[in-house]
Point group: C3
């Protein structure tokens, strides 16, 4: 019998199934340095141990999205090796900050299954929990993917679509208990605007842009030990749908987040990923712009040092985002939009 992993097909999943994913990963300051080199991130909390200490943390935590990519990467060999498409995210809550020296592992539960009407694929919903060596949850999130069936005629499970929240509710957000923004130094952080300065409905063009290179997205995706072959195999991709390698969607999320510094520089901490869609593929050579919209503005119970914003950030390829590309003339999606991410961030408050 073959000793290689051919991944799970739709009929291999069952509701309630728990999958303990492989390859625990110890992270270090090196992963953060590589993350900085890959995206140019400038959020002060992750950039400076001194800044982190001034806010009550023992040292600079790793970027929240770096933790996301590592937790996600572990699930790929079991969940999405035979995926046709990554359909969505929901209910993503960031827990304990991840520090250099932490070792992350991921466990997933299958929480939904539904065969597609073509009988060739089905949608699999998994809730994945990434935890550190102390057993603390660092990230808990749901994603669903369209997975091929091994045999088109195989019997389908009873369909079950989980009930997913539109967004993580205020009361479910986790703000690290020691984190205190009372001494938040706006000058060092590099942005003058606090939580108080943003309004729901406000739109921000992040102005800057970044062009993706093949070596960059490959380095990033391997750093996360994400093994999805569409990102790495040009020889096979040449005969495929696009004729080239596809950039890992998470690479675009991190690019958009790094670009959002220009306009959201004090949004130093991610609290939740409420939803998101990779609306079109990105390729090496694409230049990514980004813009954001403030969806909701939440005070945090019992805290006057910090507040939360629910944001929607769109990544746009090949054109500036100054006119906030979103819908196309026909009411559909502007084809230049490659990412539509709904997430919640923490900012300092005037108090």
């Amino acid at each position: 019998m073959s000793k290689t992993n051919s991944g799970n097909f739709f009929e291999d999943f069952s509701l309630g199934q728990v999958i303990r994913h492989a390859t625990p990963r110890s992270l270090s300051a090196a992963d953060q340095a590589l993350y900085t080199a890959l995206y140019g991130s400038r959020f002060a909390l992750q950039s400076s141990d001194e800044f982190a200490r001034s806010l009550g943390l023992p040292r600079a935590p790793l970027d929240d999205l770096l933790a996301f990519h590592v937790v996600f990467g572990k699930t790929v060999p079991d969940i999405s090796l035979n995926a046709v498409a990554n359909l969505g995210y929901a209910a993503g809550v960031f827990g304990a900050p991840v520090y250099p020296g932490d070792t992350l592992t991921t466990v997933s539960e299958v929480i939904g299954l539904k065969e597609n009407s073509n009988g060739k694929t089905g949608n699999v919903y998994v809730r994945s929990r990434g935890s550190n060596q102390k057993g603390e949850t660092v990230l808990d999130y749901v994603r669903w993917v369209m997975v091929r069936k091994r045999e088109p005629g195989a019997p389908a499970p009873v369909p079950h679509i989980p009930d997913l929240p539109e967004r993580v509710a205020l009361e479910d957000l986790i703000v690290p208990s020691s984190l205190n923004f009372s001494n938040f130094d706006l000058g060092l952080a590099g942005a003058p605007h606090r939580w108080d300065d943003y309004e729901a409905g406000e739109r921000i063009d992040h102005v800057d842009a970044m062009t993706i290179e093949e070596a960059e997205h490959q380095l990033a995706t391997r750093l996360y030990q994400n093994t999805a072959k569409v990102h790495f195999n040009l020889h096979e991709a040449k005969g495929g749908r696009f004729g080239k390698r596809i950039v890992y969607g998470g690479h675009v999320i991190s690019l958009a987040r790094a670009l959002s510094f220009n306009g959201l520089g004090n949004a130093v901490k991610l609290l939740a990923i409420n939803g998101g869609a990779h609306t079109a593929p990105s390729f090496a050579g694409d230049t990514i712009y980004a813009w954001s919209e403030v969806l909701e503005k939440w005070a945090l119970p019992g805290r006057d040092d910090a507040g939360a914003l629910r944001l929607r950030t769109l990544a746009v390829k090949g054109k500036p985002a100054g006119d906030f590309p979103d819908k196309a003339a026909d009411g559909g999606r502007d084809p230049a939009v490659v990412l539509d991410l709904d997430y919640t961030v923490l900012l300092p408050r005037a108090g």
Copy 2:
């Protein structure tokens, strides 16, 4: 007189000569993170401090091949700056594991010399020993290279070809004394097959593939402080034999090893490099596939937790390895094969 290093030519070497190589190199978790980003390695022992501790080590050691590349890199300015070809490896034994914080240096001894019949080049055999700051040997291996003569007419030394073993013998393998695979967690390691499950003669197609980018092999080769100019100078390469930069052969070794995870995921430790040939050059844009053959299967005296496999791994460019490309129709080498490596690995045993 010129202050630049023009390297040694064939007539500069003498039998028994000892060369203490330059540039000691301290390694850190950063080198391992870069290694992961360059190859996507997923072997659990090197990926996780916790996993390493569960097997008796103080923390995750650096990848054995990372140590190999650093030890090798040091020898380049003295041994192979004027090399025409890297002809082979033999008798490579891995010793003390390399940990973050260790500083490596390399010393070589010339153990063989033989002028080629054209009178323009000669083969130089060196035994190189890489050691850490405590003086412990981390790697001891032999390689031989074809080196240009400074003056074609110069007198040749008495030819001496060292006696080299076909492979490192079982009794010469070094298993770190504290390493114990009794608690080896197959689930976390990501592969179900133990030593017991492999048989001599078995062939494994590793399925996955990786396309090489110029930036990637340059970053890797510089990380190892390997200065061979064929890897870096496009301006000069344009006028050369291939018209482009050649990828460092060790980069292909590491790619093949990372790909071999799919089928050999529990082969977490290299014990020996028995031999190897870079049978054809690789270039940026090449997609590397790999397959392996189990050559020998050895129980280890006095141990029931672990066993050794002698493997042959071939890297193949530009086509899948499912039909195990090896010999061409004319009995020669299949031209798609770029690496044929003979090495010995350690795996957990059912006990």
Copy 3:
């Protein structure tokens, strides 16, 4: 009002103005590993903790130019986001060595202003001081840039051009007090020539060369959190003057410095940057060669273990530097020269 940083224009600067720059940055061994991967630097002091300890330091310091790039990067959003050109450097003095764990910040003072006769731009002179978390100066230097005016007709300040030294004087150089070259191991360092072996007027062709890739200069520039958009945005660059991204000038400085190892391998420590000009832009695909000239040779008062050399290193693109390209036939600059850097280094002395 826009929440994004549009940078300062010429009329936003005033003489004596002090600007505290954003984004403190903690550095680690990872930054040095990435620096090694980007340039292949082989200077023993920065490569080996053991070598550094043999010279009296607690461990290997980070590369002086890595510190330079980080200190420089912080100034970009405030000083040169609207710059037309980076005109020069002067009076750069390296102070306390930078170690893994240090956090760097930068503060600048405007020390000169002069509108250009076209009324559309002006030159801004800033003195920037980078310091560590203990408040120690790690680098103090002057640079001047040509910056756009927001409104061409806006009133100009009284012109003031600061008095800048031709080079940092011997008495202003800072040699770390614990650094002692008495036990300098030439063999491990990889170069036989001490301070005593160089003469003013001597020229050295560094022979080696390195071809730049887009992914490499982008990774480097982001590592330094340098946000100048000309390095990252191909979409916009396509419509610009060169039709492609411009390589950060500091990337070329680091390449030239790494190449200079071959001929100046014992010049392990930078003491000063006396001046420098990026005389032509570099692009991905360019192959960089380098040569150096010894401008001055200084004994250090009270020390017989070490001496200083004032060097001029030129980076040349697309052709070897064996004929020391400098002036063109018409007396102007050879167009292949992309960098002309005047700096001071520390070497071991025969004593």
